[in-house]
Symmetry: C2
Subunit: 299 residues, 2 copies
């Protein structure tokens, strides 16, 4: 089934100990789309400026992403500049230029309104709600967020949580939102707020999945080298939602498999800068790594 | 098979957000012994002062730990005082009084010299070597260490690593010792230094096990509440070595199972202060948690 994703398409300037890229293709909706497309068709809702390179548009087109919902506006594309240290954890933001993203007002093309699978990437929860309200009968809705919205738009975020099935967030976000340090307690609090499924992304430490009384924990796939962790979470979400949309049936086993697919997709995102690796892999590469994942977690 | 353990037996004063204990039973050899004893007989080598409470000695005796190698010296028992914050990571050391431990010169009772399984808990690597040299034909030797020895006794530590089969350490230690941030690269460096097996303890993020080209990753068991993380690593080591000594055959599957047993044992150590929980569990409690562990990691 087709997945609707709303989020950012951006030009990223990123420094890590492994190098630097300038105005590289980035954004939450970008990473999500190019990950999810291996499993399900993807319809994108985002905005870029007139300066958005045609070569980047071609990447989406080549991979079969539906761009009917991508608006090209007067002005410049959203730009982010960040720097990572050797631990590759939270980057230092050098600059954020919202540009056309500042007045982003997502309106769904009619064909998108029948989407069954929806991923609301990390944007203002007011906009996430606005998009969701335009979808007629969503079957499975997932959202992401960030500390900024937890601090500045808690009311809208809590309203959104009542409307979604799956909430994906990282450790610092779940702790901030719940004021709990123990992840298990924090996850139970989130489950009481609306979502039926909570996915805690722990980066190099793997993922945790909570639903009802079920808990699933998986370590991360170990990599020799990380080049650029940007987009890992959205790439995870793409594999996770893509796999679920492909399965159609949402049960515990499929949720767990989806989390493994998501984890494996994220490994391809971080092995090179921007989308360089992710855009060049095949389903064969993915399945090979899934096999390796099984091998190194079996006991 | 019986396991020989050399390490500390201490009186711990510990503050965590969950409370405080004063002069509670602690020490690396203590946690190790009371964990390993569920799987294999344990022979302890350590030193305490005349002030060491008889009630604590009785705990070891009640659990069948061989105390022939426990010296009771004139003077006071080793005392450590530490404080944990809400994240329960590295504690702040308030005070360390080595007392009788300062002149600890471990001499093995003759009956211990035929030990086949040896665990050298975190003490001066010179002493670890000294103990190991007194064992006639060790079959499997594991050691632990800490940043202090990596900084202050690197030559002795490197010498020790050539003599052991298994090296257990935590993330900050492996990074310090190898100057590598990527754990996979760091582990390969350690494997080149002597040990055939490297176990990286990641606390709430689980464990990683490296041997040859095999990698095993397991998440940690999720707990509702942590009271006191002191001794978690040594309790892990106790379950890990205890299970291996019981299996006798050291192969990849048994190593992985041993790591799961170790992880489960550690959960009992942290659920209450000192040895309060660990000393009161049954093999039934352990097996129940092993089953839960399997359930929450299957996919």
């Amino acid at each position: 089934m087709s997945i609707l994703v709303v989020g950012s398409v951006a030009l990223d300037t990123i420094s890590t100990p492994m190098g630097r890229v300038k105005d590289a293709l980035g954004g939450s909706a970008t990473y999500f789309s190019l990950s999810a497309r291996f499993f399900s068709p993807v319809s994108l809702v985002a905005v870029v400026g007139r300066d958005f390179p045609k070569s980047y548009l071609d990447i989406f087109k080549d991979k079969g992403i539906n761009l009917e919902g991508l608006r090209v506006c007067e002005g410049k594309t959203f730009r982010w500049e960040g720097q990572y240290g050797w631990d590759f954890s939270d980057p230092q933001t050098i600059a954020t230029h919202l540009n056309v993203f500042a007045s982003f007002n997502p309106v769904l093309p009619p064909a998108y309104q029948n989407s069954e699978y929806v991923f609301l990437a990390n944007i203002d929860p007011e906009l996430q709600i606005k998009v969701l309200n335009q979808v007629f009968h969503p079957k499975l809705v997932a959202c992401d967020t960030m500390n900024y919205w937890i601090e500045n738009k808690p009311t809208h975020l809590l309203k959104l949580l009542k409307m979604v099935d799956i909430f994906l967030l990282n450790e610092s976000e779940i702790r901030k939102l719940t004021s709990e340090t123990a992840i298990l307690k924090a996850a139970k609090k989130i489950l009481a707020l609306g979502p039926k499924i909570v996915v805690v992304k722990k980066g190099e430490h793997g993922i945790l999945l909570f639903s009802g009384n079920n808990i699933f924990a998986a370590p991360a796939f170990l990599l020799d080298k990380i080049f650029d962790p940007t987009g890992a979470g959205d790439t995870f979400a793409g594999g996770f939602m893509g796999y679920l949309a492909k399965c159609k049936k949402i049960n515990q086993l499929n949720l767990r498999k989806a989390a493994i697919y998501g984890s494996v997709m994220a490994t391809f995102a971080v092995e090179d800068f921007s989308l360089r690796r992710l855009q060049n892999i095949t389903i064969g590469d993915i399945n090979k790594r899934i096999k390796e994942f099984k091998k190194f977690t079996a006991f």
